[in-house]
């Protein structure tokens, strides 16, 4: 059965984030922050959560390899800076060791006695918001596919890699569907690479979450992103259901017209690979 390989230090899995940094990502969302800022914030929080999941008292265990491919006015490029510019994918211990900076933020916490206390927490930042130029989606998918072919060759028995693609507009360098289909054919012995697509919007239209059919989608662009998305594996269906989403066996890893809340859920569900050992 695919997508059941246990994830351990000998057989890690990979998460590759594909982030649209085109000029329109500067538009403001309902939170008052730009789409680029919102996505950067959630991505940083997701990276911190992934690191935390791998951190034990004796150190960080390399259960995951992580990369970010950004695309916009400068084509498709490594989304990480600093010490992480040497390659796209890095073991999670390298991610842990190399944030660009660590901010102090306030977090409201349960005080265990029915009240709430504000506590300072350290918030590492790896990824900074940026928005300029067009949407070279084909370039980005090509770059991601090159990375994943090499990664799957090196990890033939691993849980397959997951691509989480965040975009707010149509490709400006041609139709990306065929390339997305090819990317989803890259595989390990445990299954084909997963590609999940999130469309971020400031339109205020109702979000569509984990659609199970093209027919309910409003336009050709939404239908294209649906077709570019992998069906959710069984354990992710279960996890999405536990979070309260209506999903079925036909649901795909796809959200349309997403606002801030959906971005958080998309990252959370998309990075729930099978059980760590």
């Amino acid at each position: 059965m695919p997508y059941t390989a246990a994830i351990d230090r000998s057989s890690p899995t990979a998460f590759l984030f594909l982030v649209d940094q085109s000029g329109s990502m500067d538009d403001k969302m309902s939170s008052g922050r730009s789409k680029a800022q919102q996505v950067a914030d959630v991505l940083n929080r997701t990276l911190a959560t992934l690191v935390t999941r791998c951190t034990r008292a004796d150190g960080v265990r390399n259960y995951f390899e992580i990369g970010v491919v950004s695309y916009g006015g400068n084509g498709a490029y490594n989304g990480f800076g600093g010490a992480l510019t040497s390659s796209i994918l890095h073991p999670i211990s390298a991610i842990e060791a190399s944030p660009l900076n660590i901010e102090e933020r306030k977090k409201k916490m349960d005080d265990g006695a029915g009240g709430v206390v504000e506590q300072s927490v350290r918030f590492p930042v790896w990824f900074e918001p940026h928005a300029s130029g067009g949407t070279p989606m084909r370039q980005a998918i090509t770059k991601a596919a090159e990375e994943l072919v090499a990664w799957c060759d090196a990890h033939p028995n691993s849980y397959p890699p997951t691509v989480l693609h965040i975009t707010d507009g149509e490709s400006t360098d041609g139709d990306p569907e065929e390339l997305a289909t090819q990317l989803r054919q890259i595989q390990t012995g445990d299954g084909t690479a997963l590609m999940f697509n999130l469309h971020v919007s400031t339109s205020g239209a109702s979000p569509i979450e984990f659609a199970a059919s093209e027919s309910i989608l409003p336009d050709a662009y939404a239908k294209l992103l649906f077709r570019m998305s992998s069906p959710l594996p069984e354990h992710l269906i279960k996890f999405a259901q536990e979070k309260g989403f209506k999903v079925s066996m036909e649901s795909r890893g796809f959200m349309f017209n997403a606002d801030a809340v959906q971005i958080v859920d998309f990252f959370d569900i998309g990075t729930r690979a099978s059980q760590l050992r």
Partner: protein, 248 residues
């Protein structure tokens, strides 16, 4: 009570020290704990829980508070790295299976939190299991004891005792044996029994660690047992014959 076998097989032989199961044996008491993989230090947490149970089995809010305090004493939190601090704040989680012999009543009290399993056998024949009866129950998310007090509220719920305790009478059982197992082994044992291949005699006959190791590795290789730390403790509660009693 006589411990006949106790042993563990790590989930990854390349990292034998990373086993996150713990067990503790004391006269009349046994404790087994399975530390959850996604925890900051579930090994320490599981060890503290089992040690405390065999010393003082009355689990309750203050009992847990004492163990949590012991856990917190292991770390200098302000000086942890950002990731260790975040993982520490997320907490550590573990099951607790506790067995206490009631000599005067010829009975056994079982405490079961999470998915570690106790099985009562008569020789090699199944009599009862707790807290689960069916292998399918291992699919659910188990309730675990946490180092974060806010996640242990179920311990003070009115139905806690009802849900997490059983008393097994062993009066009339010819050869009472109890197996204590962590989840991968327990799920395998219940599933095989449901499919008409009971493994109780096999488990009741394991004498040495290499035999247990071989069984677990064989089943993992055949993909019939989930790869996880595996712990087995086998205890006899048979009455000693007069010639087996210790000298006065």
């Amino acid at each position: 009570m006589q411990v006949l076998f106790s042993g563990q097989v790590p989930k990854d032989h390349a990292f034998p020290d990373s086993i996150e199961d713990a067990f503790e044996l004391a006269p009349g008491r046994i404790a087994v704990s399975d530390g959850a993989s996604e925890s900051f230090d579930s090994k320490t947490w599981a060890n503290l829980l089992t040690a405390r149970f065999v010393e003082q089995p009355g689990l309750g809010a203050s009992w847990l508070a004492t163990v949590i305090e012991g856990y917190a004493g292991h770390y200098d939190v302000p000086n942890l790295s950002w990731s260790k601090e975040a993982a520490y704040e997320r907490g550590s989680f573990a099951t607790l299976l506790g067995i206490e012999e009631r000599l005067e009543h010829r009975s056994i009290d079982v405490l079961g939190i999470g998915d570690s399993l106790a099985v009562l056998l008569d020789g090699g024949v199944f009599v009862a299991s707790f807290p689960y009866v069916h292998s399918q129950e291992f699919q659910q998310r188990p309730e675990l004891l946490s180092t974060k007090p806010t996640q242990n509220e179920f311990v003070t719920a009115p139905d806690f005792f009802l849900k997490h305790h059983r008393t097994w009478s062993i009066e009339g059982i010819r050869a009472p044996l109890v197996l204590c197992m962590t989840d991968a082994l327990a799920e395998w044992a219940l599933r095989n029994t449901e499919e008409g291949r009971p493994v109780w005699e096999l488990l009741a006959d394991i004498e040495k660690l290499p035999d247990f190791d071989e069984l677990v590795l064989r089943e993992r290789q055949a993909k019939t047992m989930r790869i996880d730390d595996a712990t087995l403790v086998r205890v006899s509660f048979a009455k000693l014959r007069s010639d087996e009693l210790p000298e006065p």
